[in-house]
């Protein structure tokens, strides 16, 4: 875990270092930047040091002082990460719940009525949802449900969770829930033909019990796996949707920082992403034994 973290942060640091352009000069805009100020700023952000010295200093700050550095407008990067992750986590949770509930319901509905109207409708609907670019969906949803109908706030986080996150969450989930619905449907249809289902029907179990207890439970294994990967995907932030709905989340902050080559922010956010994945993997490894009785650690 430690080598992976070190390797990744170093790699990102090198990449940021290699970005073209002088961030300090860009900050000044069209106005002249006196040499003394230029030098003071470069010194403040340690931009004149060699790459490895800069990296070492950064690592030292993070490890021993919990200091992730400072943005160009004097904000602590640690605080920025904390703030933006709160926003992104809420958006991710909303999107994930939508994906789970709506996607699986549609899949079950279609799967149980294979070849019928429901099946065709879900197939058609999800095809459209997957095909529409998310920004089109985002702007349309904002215009129709936010502005015209006024059901949801148009932008911002002022109304808190869940109200501010419902509309963007649905937009983020829209394309993804198509995959969940299809996966559920296929898996369900396959299992409905399985021998044990026929046995269950033959021994006279009610249909509801056959579907819910026997078929659905087994059909959901691949779906749940997919949904698990989705969490990570959502947590990485959704740059476009966060931008359109003015949610200051991780993806959005990362994009802003990249534009002005704000090294500490870029490295900080990506490092945190890496940390989250590493932590999750660790938990997974430990959970193995609990989840699957066939696996035991000695």
């Amino acid at each position: 875990m430690v080598p992976v973290l070190l390797g990744t942060t170093l790699f990102i640091y090198v990449l940021v270092f290699a970005l073209p352009g002088d961030p300090i000069r860009a900050l000044a805009g069209e106005k002249p930047l006196p040499d003394s100020v230029y030098r003071a700023l470069r010194e403040h952000y340690h931009l004149d040091d060699p790459l490895l010295v800069q990296y070492g200093r950064y690592l030292f700050g993070v490890l021993f002082r919990g200091d992730f550095g400072e943005t160009f407008n004097g904000q602590s990067v640690g605080q920025l990460i904390a703030d933006s992750w709160t926003v992104t986590a809420q958006l991710a949770a909303t999107a994930w719940i939508f994906e789970l509930v709506v996607g699986m319901s549609l899949g079950v509905w279609a799967g149980l009525r294979r070849g019928g109207f429901a099946d065709a409708a879900v197939l058609g609907g999800t095809t459209v949802a997957i095909a529409i670019p998310s920004f089109v969906l985002a702007y349309s949803a904002q215009l129709v449900f936010g502005l015209k109908l006024g059901w949801f706030p148009t932008a911002g986080t002022d109304d808190g969770w869940p109200m501010s996150y419902l509309l963007p969450g649905m937009v983020v989930a829209a394309a993804e829930l198509g995959y969940v619905a299809r996966l559920t449907r296929t898996s369900l249809v396959e299992n409905m033909r399985a021998d044990y289902v026929r046995t269950a029907v033959a021994k006279g179990l009610p249909r509801r019990r056959v579907v819910v207890r026997h078929t659905l439970r087994n059909s959901l294994i691949p779906v749940v796996t997919y949904l698990g990967t989705q969490i990570g995907y959502f947590m990485a932030g959704s740059i476009i949707v966060e931008g359109i709905f003015n949610l200051p989340g991780v993806g959005h902050e990362l994009w802003l920082a990249l534009q002005i080559k704000e090294g500490p922010t870029i490295v900080g956010i990506v490092t945190f992403l890496v940390l989250i994945y590493l932590f999750a993997n660790l938990v997974v490894d430990l959970l193995y034994g609990v989840l699957d009785p066939r696996i035991r650690y000695d």
Binding site: E242, N246, L287
Partner: protein, 544 residues
């Protein structure tokens, strides 16, 4: 995907879900103020700084303007009037005596004195503080001592630390009076004092400048309140009860809401979720005019777009070539196509709102006509090689209008090889100042103070980006700077502009018009070209 990998991902999901749930709980995001307070909101973007000496983007200046009064302010016609100053006088335009009105206080109760101004200006001019408005103080005597030269340029030796942090040109005579000695006579000095960078600073701030930058203590109609500057979210202010100046706040408070883009802010404005948006995105102007009706306001701006030539490149040293290019650009057509007709084509360096502006000072040379353009082009001996047009990637409209310029040059002059150099924003300006441009480039100027001098010096002065020999033009500017009155100085500036336009190292293109709008919740919204940072007099706004 192996079974192992699947399980890994799945459990990762569970873990992440747990984190998510933790993050969700206990989040309210509601404002803590009581519901009856009459506050309004202004759409803003994340500022770089809030200390007056450091705030140099319009997002920061907008906030500083609400929080701070300066010695002078600009009236509706762009003329300078005293605000915090009782009098600003000089006999030689070089040494200025400034009397500060007694009885005015900062938000923390501290009185505004001559020392408050001197402290603020010294802090801004002190190089190691690295405040972005540092260069505005460059003409005060003693500035150099606070910004020592690096002895070997970019070499290994570090510049010496300044020996002093006080400019010798600033002297406090008594509690309310101080004198400013400039390096050269400068008749426009009172005008520059209206800029937010010249605001005062209380004693309480001098100990911790960083804290002051995050939570400034001002002397203006609004004061920072509550959580203050919540990065990427909002900046909350309330009416300053002890305000004694000429622009008391009508509303109880003002919140600057931070938007990632103007598009999101515009949508919120239509939904009446934000009250003022001072710059509506150009693409939405037509729609906004229709939807907002009389709540849509157009104000002439001080910002100009130019096409500058790299005169350090031999190919552009021929003036006839520059004339040819100027005459073959159809400015009105581009403004109509790219900016929905919202901008105003100009034949001047100086913006129309600046005193001393002469319509089309450039004459025929800045007017579109393909036949004389072609004649100039032939006289110049044509153009060989590839013509490279430079602009940054900061806004998509740059490429749009450059495409039009390229097409017009192809059509009217027959220049076949035209290439775009679209440079990352972070890289663009350093390319220009380092004289690395290999062709005409987009240039833009945002007005600091309404004086022709503010537009001309950067283009004629010794450090101009075009590599232009502006001695003749600069001599006239200096005469204007020494003039006894603003009216007299204007005449010299006009002559300087004429010289610059005759040599044409820079082609005027168009003047920006600001399109703003406001919600149904507020009234008495007065847009003003001379109001710092945006355009609305926040103090006058009333909440319904």
């Amino acid at each position: 995907m192996t079974e192992l990998a699947r399980r890994t991902r799945w459990a990762a999901g569970l873990a992440a879900l747990a984190l998510t749930a933790a993050a969700c709980s206990g989040d309210g995001d509601k404002d803590d103020g009581d519901a009856k307070a009459k506050t309004f909101t202004v759409a803003n973007q994340e500022p770089g700084h809030l200390a007056p000496g450091a705030a140099n983007d319009s997002y920061g200046i907008r906030v500083v303007n609400a929080l701070f009064d300066r010695l002078t302010r600009l009236d509706k016609s762009g003329m300078v009037v005293n605000e915090d100053a009782e009098s600003i006088t000089s006999t030689d335009q070089k040494t200025w005596t400034i009397k500060v009105k007694p009885g005015r206080t900062f938000h923390n109760g501290e009185p505004v004195t001559a020392q408050s101004y001197v402290d603020a200006w010294n802090a801004a001019a002190y190089g190691p503080n690295a405040w972005d408005n540092n260069y505005y103080f460059g003409n005060i005597a003693g500035y150099d001592a606070l910004n020592p030269e690096d002895p070997d340029g970019d070499g290994p030796q570090d510049a010496p630390k300044p020996k002093t942090d006080k400019m010798s040109g600033l002297k406090v005579l008594d509690r309310q009076t101080f004198t400013v000695k400039l390096t050269d006579p400068f008749s426009q000095f009172p005008l520059t004092l209206a800029f937010t960078g010249f605001a005062p600073m209380p004693k309480a701030a001098t100990k911790d400048l960083k804290a002051f930058d995050q939570r400034p203590i001002g002397n203006g109609p609004f004061m920072i309140s509550g959580s203050g500057w919540q990065h990427n979210k909002q900046i909350t202010t309330q009416k300053f009860a002890g305000y004694r100046g000429s622009r008391p706040a009508h509303a109880d408070g003002l919140v600057f809401k931070t938007y990632a883009s103007r598009d999101a802010a515009y949508t919120d404005l239509l939904a009446n979720r934000v009250d003022i948006l001072e710059t509506i995105p150009p693409a939405k102007v037509r729609e906004a005019r229709r939807l907002l009706g009389n709540r849509f306001v157009t104000t002439p701006g001080g910002t100009m777009d130019y096409l500058e030539f790299p005169l350090y490149d031999k190919r552009f040293q021929n003036r006839d070539l520059r004339y040819a290019i100027s005459r073959s650009i159809n400015r009105q057509a581009i403004v109509d196509a790219v900016f929905n007709g919202a901008f105003r084509p100009t034949g001047t360096i100086v913006a129309p709102i600046v005193p001393g502006y002469r319509p089309n000072a450039c004459g025929l040379i800045c007017m579109y006509d393909s036949r004389p353009a072609k004649k100039f082009f032939e006289k110049a001996g044509g153009f060989s090689g590839t013509l490279e047009l430079w602009f940054s990637n900061a806004d998509p409209s740059y490429e749009q209008w450059m495409t039009d310029v390229a097409n017009q040059l192809k059509q009217n002059l027959g220049i076949k090889n035209i290439r775009f150099r679209k440079v990352p924003q972070a890289d663009y300006l350093s390319n220009l100042t380092d004289h690395k441009a290999t062709g005409p480039y987009r240039a833009n100027w945002v007005m600091d103070y309404p004086s022709a001098e503010n537009y001309l010096t950067p283009r004629c002065g010794p450090s101009n980006r075009q590599g232009y020999d502006g001695k003749e033009c600069m001599a006239l500017i200096r005469k204007g700077n020494r003039a006894k009155s603003i009216a007299e100085s204007v005449r010299y500036y006009q002559r300087a502009e004429t010289v610059l336009l005759k040599d044409l190292p820079v082609i005027p293109l168009w003047n920006w018009q600001e399109q703003g709008g406001y919600s149904k919740n507020i009234g008495n919204v007065n847009f003003d070209s001379y109001e710092a940072g945006g355009g609305v007099h926040y103090d006058q706004v009333t909440v319904k």
